[in-house]
């Protein structure tokens, strides 16, 4: 039962005084304000974050295309092929030697899902110029290499060089097989497949093994051409350089590409209609239980901060309801935590439990949510969780990768805010709003991975 609003205001003044002080201090010391953003082609943005605190500089190119089950496998292989060689350094061996020469600069290709998009990222990390032993500019060469990789791949007769393709095809198949090896990751993958079986988000980021086996080098090259033409592209440079030359370089390169860009769509299902239940059996010592909820709350809604806080109160910290009550007091699980994906409006609770405790753990978890829905959240829980979340936002930008990830996610949701602005939003959330957020949760999927009966008899 929600409390009277006036009592919140009063509490806000007393209990969150610490937080106020925290937020006020941030405004004075926070230095990450030098973010420059320019559009350099249709759907292509160049972002520079000036930051001279780090020993390294980074250049990341993220290309977003709609998740499509017929294209996902061909798209998935592209970053891997691109980052293993290029025209200028035509073999993996030569390419690796060149990177070693540049003080171990790394060029990495990543394939991931962000909402209903497949995000294909190439990123380079190298030491800042002031640490090079011979005075050369690592940043400049790094920018040239990432452009070589992206725009001048190793192509023969209208397809990627066969040995590059074959090598990456084999590794992609092995990556699909390896998804099964780590049981926590595997249960998460299966859970998403079940919960989103009728939605694009349910598509495996690698596609299926059969799809990868059926690919040809020509398919992969065509996928590359389509990505570079149609994807939304976010280029992000981070470091002590102004990166004007790098911007010019990317602008020139993109000017030679005939862009055909349209904003993609991210579909969010607000409510669960029925509870889907799935139990998989494997020879595992510890069972996994995952509960998936629809939240009726996703980007770019203004209520996202409320759901973020609700999630953290429930299971997002080491003093959350799930941690204290389900793990510590009841000693039911080794881990029990919740996470919220604001792109999909998904909240899930993940736990590792003994087989005989699965039902008990599930009941205990659901009970914690019921308590929240009824308004059983202490003022302490509110202020402690706010402090913990704000601490997390601010800490994340003390690393180059965290800074880059923060701003990339901001660009994608369309309303970029800084970590301290996010902290302010969190600080402004009332208990009433958290209770309202909890009341929006509808249980969609119960996924269990547990021991085979026959194994137990052995």
């Amino acid at each position: 039962m929600p409390l009277h609003p006036t009592s919140f205001e009063k509490l806000d003044q007393t209990l969150t005084g610490r937080l106020r002080k925290f937020i006020n201090n941030l405004k004075e010391v926070f230095i990450l304000e030098k973010l420059k953003r320019v559009q350099i082609a249709e759907g292509v943005y160049f972002n520079t974050i000036f930051d001279n605190r780090f020993k390294t500089s980074r250049i990341a190119v993220t290309m977003l295309v709609g998740l499509d089950k017929d294209k996902v496998a061909a798209n998935a292989i592209v970053p891997n092929i691109l980052t293993r060689s290029c025209k200028a350094y035509p073999t993996y061996f030569e390419f690796s030697q060149k990177l070693d020469m540049l003080y171990g600069t790394s060029i990495t290709g990543i394939n991931s899902k962000m909402g209903d998009f497949q995000a294909l990222t190439l990123y380079a990390v190298g030491i800042d110029d002031k640490y090079s032993l011979d005075g050369e500019s690592v940043n400049k060469e790094m920018a040239e290499i990432i452009c070589d990789v992206l725009f001048d791949p190793n192509v023969e007769n209208g397809e990627f060089k066969d040995e590059d393709f074959k090598q990456e095809q084999r590794q992609l198949i092995e990556a699909i097989d390896a998804q099964f090896n780590n049981k926590r990751a595997y249960s998460m993958k299966r859970f998403l497949e079940v919960m989103f079986k009728d939605e694009k988000y349910g598509i495996n980021k690698y596609g299926t093994k059969e799809q990868v086996l059926a690919l040809t080098s020509k398919d992969a090259y065509n996928a590359y051409l389509e990505i570079i033409k149609t994807a939304k592209v976010e280029i992000m440079c981070l470091g002590s350089n102004d990166n004007d030359d790098v911007c010019k370089l990317f602008t020139e390169k993109f000017s030679s590409i005939e862009r055909d860009f349209a904003e993609g769509e991210n579909v969010v299902v607000p409510k669960a209609t029925e509870v889907k239940e799935q139990t998989d059996k494997l020879d595992v010592e510890q069972s996994k239980l995952i509960l998936g909820f629809r939240t009726d709350c996703a980007e770019p809604s203004d209520t996202v901060s409320e759901m973020k806080l609700a999630n953290a109160v429930l299971g997002g910290t080491a003093h959350s309801k799930l941690f204290n009550n389900v793990r510590e007091k009841l000693s039911l699980c080794y881990y029990c935590n919740s996470a919220y994906d604001s792109n999909k409006g998904l909240l899930y609770i993940e736990s590792g439990v003994q087989k005989e405790n699965i039902e008990k753990a599930k009941a205990a978890i659901l009970n914690e949510i019921e308590e929240m829905k009824k308004g059983n959240i202490t003022d302490e829980e509110m202020s402690d969780t706010k402090l913990s979340l704000c601490n997390r936002y601010m800490t994340s930008v003390d690393s180059p990768s965290g800074t880059q990830a923060w701003y990339l996610s901001q660009m994608l949701k369309g309303k970029p805010i800084s970590p301290q602005e996010q902290a302010e939003l969190i600080n402004a959330v009332t208990k009433e709003q958290v209770v309202a957020a909890a009341n929006k949760l509808t249980l969609d999927t119960v996924y269990v991975l547990t021991k085979n009966e026959s194994e137990e008899e052995n």
Partner: protein
């Protein structure tokens, strides 16, 4: 009190070392422009320290997994667990136990002094009763089971069990469900009083903090400890590996392997130079730009999960290679053959130069992270090394240094292959 400043021109950073009158050594590494601070206190006491003696006392043997159990229990005091206390400062806290150390840490952006106070308070306030000890059995039992389900964890421990006959590094850090059943409050106090003496501990703070801030809390919170002598006992370990091959069936679709080459390290910890030379050597031998890596890739025997590391600690050291492979035995054959070739032909000047630059770049990158800096400081302290010594050793390395190191490690006739593979294979 003596405050020493250590500066380095290559890294362009500095840190301070304090010998606090309480017995604790304190490192403070300020990071300009950072908002967060990472603090970690560690004791030179890990899962391998199961037989020991303090001063002229009797030799004590304790159950496997007790250091880790103690870590869990120390997090609790009479008035609630540390997580609950940190909740009031906003700090993000954790703890871990490794083979040779136990550490308690937090990171924060505000209320640093209050958080440090909590840290220093609970590590000095043991509270173990029969009841609280019994309560932890369930949670730790679950943790052990979770590791039993992890093929990458199993493949590593199977390697250690294959390499070592006697050394306790072969035993799981958390112990077993049976061994932790023997843990009592009294045994926890024995371990606590032996190893959680401030002379056996170190505090490292990196990020947005000053020496004055750290000292003001330390002066207030630290209770002086009497210096005591701790002797750890390890059985003699033969040079030869115990088993050349270990296999475990698991629900996996692609086999995992670890290949460990045991080194004759004696009772001395590796020096900064040895670490730097080993890293350069392994980069020449097995990094993505090595002939070995490219051969294994071209033959379809490894994938991007392939990696290598130098694992070392009290009385043990080994080079480990590992990853996923459809044919780990073939990988082993090729690696052994490559070692023989490498030792016969010596080191190519150009390969050396590339590897040196690459290792140097990685070392420099490591100084971005408060967490990384503070954790390496702890390791360095417990092994009598200096933090920047590693970077200097890389920058000043010569081919001859690497060649000499090559004669000391990677004996192709002294290795263990551990494989985790699917039921049907």
């Amino acid at each position: 009190m003596d405050i020493k400043t250590v500066e380095n021109n290559i890294v362009k950073d500095k840190y301070y070392v304090l010998d606090h009158p309480s017995g604790l050594t304190i490192y403070v590494y300020p990071k300009e422009g950072y908002q967060s601070t990472y603090a970690i206190i560690g004791t030179k006491y890990g899962s391998v320290n199961t037989r020991f003696k303090v001063d002229d006392g009797e030799e004590i043997t304790v159950p496997d997994g007790i250091a880790h159990y103690l870590e869990h229990k120390l997090f609790e005091s009479e008035d609630g667990d540390a997580f609950t206390r940190y909740a009031k400062t906003g700090a993000n806290a954790n703890a871990y136990t490794s083979f040779e150390k136990t550490c308690y840490l937090f990171s924060c952006t505000e209320n640093f002094e209050e958080s440090l106070e909590i840290l220093l308070d609970f590590v000095q306030s043991p509270y173990f009763t029969a009841e609280t000890v019994a309560k932890e059995q369930g949670i730790i039992g679950q943790e052990i089971k979770m590791y039993d389900d992890s093929p990458s964890w199993r493949v590593m421990f199977n390697t250690l069990q294959g390499m070592y006959h006697k050394h306790p590094v072969r035993i799981d850090i958390a112990g077993t469900v049976e061994s932790i059943a023997e843990i009592t409050a009294e045994k926890l106090y024995d371990c606590y009083n032996s190893f959680y003496n401030l002379h056996n501990m170190v505090l490292c703070v990196a990020g947005n903090a000053t020496v004055e801030q750290v000292l003001s809390v330390a002066d207030r919170m630290l209770k002086p400890n009497k210096k005591q002598k701790i002797e750890n006992f390890f059985e003699d370990e033969p040079y030869e590996v115990a088993k050349e091959y270990v296999e475990q069936k698991f629900p996996v679709t692609i086999p995992l392997f670890n290949l460990g080459f045991k080194e004759n390290i004696g009772d001395k910890a590796a020096t900064s130079e040895q670490l730097a030379y080993t890293d350069i050597l392994l980069t020449i031998f097995a990094s993505t730009s090595s002939k070995l890596y490219n051969k294994l890739m071209d033959e379809g025997l490894i994938n991007e999960s392939f990696g290598y590391e130098y694992a070392e600690g009290p009385h043990y050291a080994a080079v480990l290679f590992g990853g996923e492979s459809r044919n780990p035995k073939k990988v082993t054959e090729i690696i052994k053959e490559a070692i023989r070739e490498f030792k016969k032909n010596g080191i190519d000047e150009k390969d050396f130069e590339l590897a040196k630059r690459s290792v140097y770049g990685n070392a420099i990158s490591g100084f971005n992270s408060n967490e990384n800096i503070a954790n390496i400081l702890i390791d360095m302290h417990f092994n009598d090394r200096e933090l920047f010594g590693y970077v200097d050793a890389i920058a000043n390395a010569k081919v001859e240094d690497i060649e000499k190191r090559l004669t000391e490690i990677l004996d192709p006739d002294n290795c263990t292959l551990s494989v985790v593979l699917g039921e049907e294979e």
